[in-house]
């Protein structure tokens, strides 16, 4: 059981400061993925396109969260809260769709 930390105060240490080159690489990757996403929509993928596009968006989101939002050096509580939001969104989707998928609908 861990005790709340009470470190002495002081400014952040240098290893917490982002490396601009690394940030720029992340930027290029995220931007490239966005372009890929738009290009993808011009291909005749049909229904499966949306899954790939959302997959790409998720990769982008993970990159942004991990590097730019500093999840890589965040608290456990930060990681947990991120996972919690995803978990509950997942529950929300799953249980709403437990209704939608099995519901009998009239053609209107």
């Amino acid at each position: 059981m861990h005790t709340p930390e009470h470190k002495t105060d002081g400014p952040s240490t240098m290893h917490d400061v982002d490396n601009p080159a690394a940030m720029f690489v992340v930027y290029l990757v995220v931007l490239g993925l966005a372009v890929a996403n738009i290009l993808l929509s011009t291909t005749p993928l049909g229904k499966s396109a949306i899954y790939i596009q959302l997959g790409i968006a998720s990769v982008q989101a993970v990159l942004v969260a991990y590097y730019w939002m500093h999840m890589r050096r965040g608290d456990t509580a930060v990681t947990l809260s991120a996972f919690c939001s995803l978990f509950f969104i997942g529950i929300f989707y799953l249980l709403v769709f437990s209704d939608i998928w099995t519901r009998w609908r009239m053609a209107m």
Partner: protein, 587 residues
């Protein structure tokens, strides 16, 4: 079987009564501005207490109108339209302006920092902002009521609320939307505070159970409230624009609104009741002079309720046109969420075992809670079971069940908290006799009001009915008679608590001889809560050994302790002495 546990805390001497500082949080300043612009969590708690008392009265008056009107089968005092507006006002005010903020905003604000040994909540300005946001939101609601009221019921189902109602739905919904942000702010503040502001030694395993329940509540507030916020935005868009995503004429599905709404509003009932459960754990241990039975079980059942509570919402929709398999799934999940509540009740009862119980007002409220909450809980099972819900749904059975949990449970827990912490908040003791009388009257009045409603519900009387078949009149009259007793019971604390402010005996720092950190500082507490930064050395409920969380001895507990009372000779820890105390982990 019993075993000795070797990690017994060292017991210090009973600390002397801390000298009340010249300046406590109440008398440090007296101007209106010092209250309205305060960032002190204690003063904000008091602000909330005053606002909530006001809105509880408003909601109670609306309930009184509803019950009076039901005296006659055709409506005794008002038209159908006025009745619809009254019960909507009752529901909206009680739920959004009283029950949801109640314990978190008043006692959470006031006592979470004190119980974990912090000087304040993590974001004091945000805390003040939450009160203002609450007041702005309630302002919108009051506006909508004064301008003629809302007649949709608190559930605001479209398409009635979006297209058909001619009442002031938009300002009403906007008010609810805004108060949601207040709830999020309070929850966020409490969660961060519990994570980051605990004093040295206050590990998760030593947190008082009230903190655990506040943590679970805040968790629900953070995850649930935004969903209802977006739902209400979509509803307002639909109402204002005349077209929207729940509109069946363009292919929208009004049942989807119910999914979105109940995804918050079912967990919201846990926002209301879980803090109450935390209060019960605090009070029952103190007045039984016992360690809580099964600390981990009680703590984790709060978290379990918070998590599983998000998976059961569609049990409000069994007959609302959801899919067959979905209904079965939700019925099953609902059975799971009933279990943690049962665990809590059994643990509380087990805590009483071999205790040394006294019956001051907080304890009476807790005992009433135990009885009423149990009844409220088990009647929920009728509604979770598919076969019975298709009859009982939307009848007075639901009304009675809900009030047993929310009024019999939550409001009594709120009153227990108020009576338990009143000396700490105000520095004054209230009338022992009148407070016990009030607890008894409320208990009796409550039973009389709501038991007849179970019968009505079983016979099929629908909720929200100002007109009903004449054969239902007998039970309605009984219920209204009970409501008048209940209303009288609620008036009493208003009187004796107010009187205590002026004439009450001065409270000592620890009048109940309780173990929590909030009792370490004087009553009322100083501005920054503690004279010295506390360092916690043991768990929250060491009544058996007789030490508080700082490891110091406890003062004499109150009670029937006259000079003839053996307990008063033996001292709080009994003749055996703390060091020889057996520790039982039965089983």
């Amino acid at each position: 079987m019993s075993i000795i546990v070797h990690d017994e805390p060292r017991v210090g001497p009973v600390p002397p009564e801390p000298t009340p500082p010249a300046k406590n949080y109440l008398n440090v300043a007296h101007t209106a501005a010092s209250w309205l612009f305060t960032v002190d969590h204690k003063r904000i708690g008091i602000l909330y207490l005053v606002s909530l008392t006001f809105f509880f009265t408003v909601g109670g008056l609306a309930a009184g109108l509803v019950r009076l009107n039901l005296l006659a089968p055709d409506g005794a005092i008002m038209t159908e339209d006025a009745y619809n507006r009254s019960f909507t006002a009752h529901g909206v005010v009680m739920l959004f302006l009283f029950l949801i903020p109640s314990i978190p905003a008043v006692f959470g604000n006031f006592f979470v920092p004190m119980m974990i040994g912090a000087k304040d909540l993590a974001f004091p300005k945000l805390n003040l902002a939450s009160w203002y946001v609450y007041m702005v939101g309630s302002g919108f609601l009051v506006w909508s009521v004064l301008a003629g009221g809302v007649d949709t019921g608190w559930t605001l189902y479209p398409p009635y609320s979006s297209r058909y109602s001619t009442s002031n739905v938009t300002p009403g919904v906007f008010g609810v939307f805004i108060t949601g942000f207040s709830s999020i702010m309070t929850g966020l503040n409490i969660m961060v505070t519990v994570h980051k502001m605990r004093c040295p030694g206050m590990t998760w395993g030593r947190l008082p159970l009230f903190i655990w329940s506040m943590y679970a509540t805040s968790f629900i507030q953070l995850l649930g409230t935004p969903v209802v916020a977006i739902t209400l935005v979509l509803l307002m868009v639909e109402r204002v624009a005349g077209i929207g995503i729940f509109d069946p004429t363009i292919g929208g599905d009004p049942v989807l609104y119910q999914h979105l709404f109940w995804f918050y509003s079912h967990p919201a009932v846990y926002i209301m009741i879980v803090p109450g459960m935390g209060v019960i754990s605090e009070v029952i241990t103190c007045f039984a002079r016992k360690n809580i039975f099964g600390y981990k079980a009680v703590a984790w059942s709060s978290v379990g309720i918070a998590v599983v509570g998000f998976m059961v919402w569609a049990h409000h929709m069994f007959v609302a046109g959801i899919a067959y398999y979905s209904a079965i799934l939700f019925s099953f999940l609902t059975m799971l969420v009933a279990v943690p509540s049962a665990i809590k009740v059994f643990n509380w009862v087990a805590t009483l075992y071999r205790g040394s119980i006294t019956f001051q007002a907080p304890m009476l409220f807790v005992l009433a809670f135990l009885v009423l909450f149990t009844v409220g809980g088990v009647t929920g099972l009728f509604l979770a079971t598919l076969g019975t819900d298709i009859h009982l749904h939307d009848t007075y059975f639901v009304v009675a069940h809900f009030h047993f949990v929310m009024v019999g449970g939550m409001v009594l827990a709120y009153l227990a908290a108020l009576h338990y912490w009143w000396p700490k908040m105000t520095g004054r003791m209230y009338s022992d006799f009148w407070s016990r009388a009030s607890a008894t009257i409320i208990f009796v009045g409550f039973f009389l009001t709501f038991v007849p409603q179970f019968v009505l519900g079983y016979h099929g009387m629908p909720r929200r009915y100002p007109n009903y078949p004449p054969e239902f009149q007998v039970y309605n009259v009984l219920s209204t008679a009970g409501a008048s007793v209940l209303g009288f019971g609620y008036l009493l604390p208003g009187f004796y608590l107010t009187l205590s402010l002026f004439f009450g005996e001065k409270a000592s720092a620890n009048p109940w001889s309780a173990t929590g950190l909030e009792w370490v500082s004087s009553s009322p507490p100083p501005v920054f809560n503690f004279d010295r930064n506390p360092v916690v050395v043991c768990g929250p409920y060491e009544y058996a050994i007789g030490v508080d969380q700082l490891g110091r001895g406890l003062p004499e507990p109150p009670g029937p302790g006259s000079a003839d009372d053996p307990a008063s000779h033996d001292g709080p820890t009994g003749p055996a002495g703390p060091m020889q105390k057996e520790t039982h982990v039965v089983g």
